[in-house]
Subunit: 354 residues, 2 copies
């Protein structure tokens, strides 16, 4: 049980609204952070990024990565920082070469569609600079702010490792999973193990919550979803819970649709993220009572602002007023989002009164 | 009420399993057809297509289009033919120029993102050759086979008309819908009206069922889904039902996820199509009792065949054994699907015994 704000204040423990919600409290207004909040919509991010050169150079410079992580918290009254890193650090540590080509997105070589996993040489040392970033961010946070670590969920990471790049419908990986479940299962298992180590390292360095991004879970048929999304997430969550019982795990199975209910029931995650296509009224009705949820403003409603933004925010707040809720977008904030609209969102959230 | 098979036989009315299911009967085995069943996985299709040149040339040659429509029924024991045409015939009739560039997909000019709808000159005459195809297909069908006409649902058609092409996440159209709902609403209304005429023409020419493909409904936030998917589908369905009370309307909101329940309850469609990501067990539990459903084999499971195919088919048959069910894929059949796997699927379906 987390202390109430009063108990915390009495005990001298700083109140962290995001952690409180993840432990089952409702807060009004809800705590808020935004996926990809440290990103290109911020001029100070673009400036630092330009000075550093490549994306990976920025991720691996722990001073710069910590600075970038903290940038949005200097502008907006956010309740959490999320580590500035990338889900493909795990394939990099598993031995694939990783590069980010402007306009083309990430590239991993060799792609596992044509290469045996056993030919890769793991370099777990590639994870360590990230832990330094975590520690530096933690040192820069205010007392009410929470530090979120993250990794890609095994299925999503596997789609990149198999294809060697992002893809519209993950067809290559889905075909491998159907056609050679043994070989594909070994890839997922290797990712799971490395991800457990990676999240453990983040937690040891100061992450207070971890989020598993399953960005491409939406393309899977239900039996494949059970096998490659739910089962690995459940195993990973159980291992983390055993080692770090106090660290909540947020699962974010983007595009899961109606399968969100099974995901929430079976994986054991502490909270589920809702993407922007999920009706929060439906989610509140269908998800296990008391399970904290996170989301789910459409990033395009934030770009539109004004007349589109207000009712979209209101619908989410009203729908989720009856359960622990962390306000967030349903997807990463987009590059051309006006700063003024983020300020408008913060003002709308902070004046919420039930 | 449709006659039972016995009553139909007694009355001399041919029994059409697909129509019977759409009117609320359960059939074992279920009737079957496959989205995009007249397509490039068939060598006879590729041959005719090569002889005709462009895709649009094939669509507008009603003899060839009718032949293509009937090709899969000559190979497989399918219960329905679906008109060979394209959802972009409606924008073409609304006055946009339509072309299909190999590798690039369809192009509509001028895109409405930068042009006012009022500058287009409608050419409803562009719909008429399609009605000839419908009549020719109808004349070629066996007595137990059903002819399905179709159109794109207004939202999906609008995404092409606004952007001028297909897009990954329909962001341009979603932005226009948020930013200028009045202008976007006028586009949707024009599509609705032309689509009503188009489907009426198909029905007059012999279509016995119509399907509304809402291929891009999956990207919408819930309030936008209500406004641009559910509401236009409900209006169109109501108009069709009033004019042709005996013609069932199948709604296929691809990617709707948890919003499928609201779609099924509110639109008034006679049946809903399930894409391959929908768990049929969940759908059977959540959808209105007795509502016919269509779907939803993963096209990649059909490509995989063998050990992957059998349990995937079984799961669907078992989950939907308690309600009227039309077996189908969850998405169009893919070009590299082996013919032998389609034959395997047909054999699996035809030997089904409860």
């Amino acid at each position: 049980m987390s202390p109430t704000p009063r108990e915390a204040a009495q005990a001298g423990v700083p109140d962290k609204p995001l952690l409180a919600v993840l432990r089952g409290e409702r807060r009004d207004p809800p705590p808020v952070w935004m996926m990809r909040q440290a990103g290109r919509y911020l001029p100070e991010y673009r400036e630092l990024r330009a000075a550093k050169g490549g994306f990976l150079d920025l991720v691996y410079d722990s001073d710069a990565a910590a600075e970038v992580t903290l940038q949005p918290l200097k502008r907006f009254p956010l309740d959490a920082a999320i580590l500035f890193s990338d889900i493909l650090i795990v394939p990099f540590a598993l031995g694939q070469n990783l590069s980010f080509v402007a306009g083309d997105g990430p590239s991993l070589t060799p792609p596992l569609v044509g290469t045996d996993l056993a030919t890769l040489t793991p370099y777990p040392v590639r994870l360590e600079p990230i832990y330094e970033t975590v520690a530096k961010v933690k040192a820069g946070l205010g007392p009410s702010q929470t530090l979120i670590g993250f990794a890609g969920a095994p299925w999503t990471v596997a789609t990149y490792m198999v294809a060697g790049h992002g893809s519209r419908d993950q067809a290559e990986t889905r075909r491998l999973a159907y056609g050679d479940a043994g070989r594909f299962g070994a890839i997922v298992e290797a990712i799971e193990t490395m991800t457990f180590d990676y999240l453990s390292g983040q937690i040891e360095a100061g992450a207070e919550v971890v989020q598993l991004f399953d960005s491409w879970s939406g393309s899977l048929a239900p039996s494949e979803f059970e096998r490659w999304v739910i089962a690995p997430t459940a195993r990973l969550t159980a291992r983390l819970r055993q080692k770090y019982p106090d660290v909540p795990v947020i699962g974010f199975p983007k595009g899961a649709g109606g399968k969100l209910c099974a995901y929430a029931r079976v994986t054991g995650v502490s909270a589920v993220g809702l993407d922007e296509t999920v009706d929060p009224v439906w989610a509140d009705k269908e998800l296990p009572a008391g399970l904290p949820v996170q989301g789910n403003l459409d990033p395009l409603a934030l770009i539109a602002g004004g007349a589109a933004l207000k009712p979209a925010v209101r619908r989410i707040l009203d729908a989720l007023a009856g359960r622990p809720h962390i306000f967030n977008l349903g997807h990463g904030i987009l590059q051309d989002t006006p700063i003024a609209h983020v300020e408008e969102l913060m003002a709308l959230l902070k004046k919420k009164k039930k």
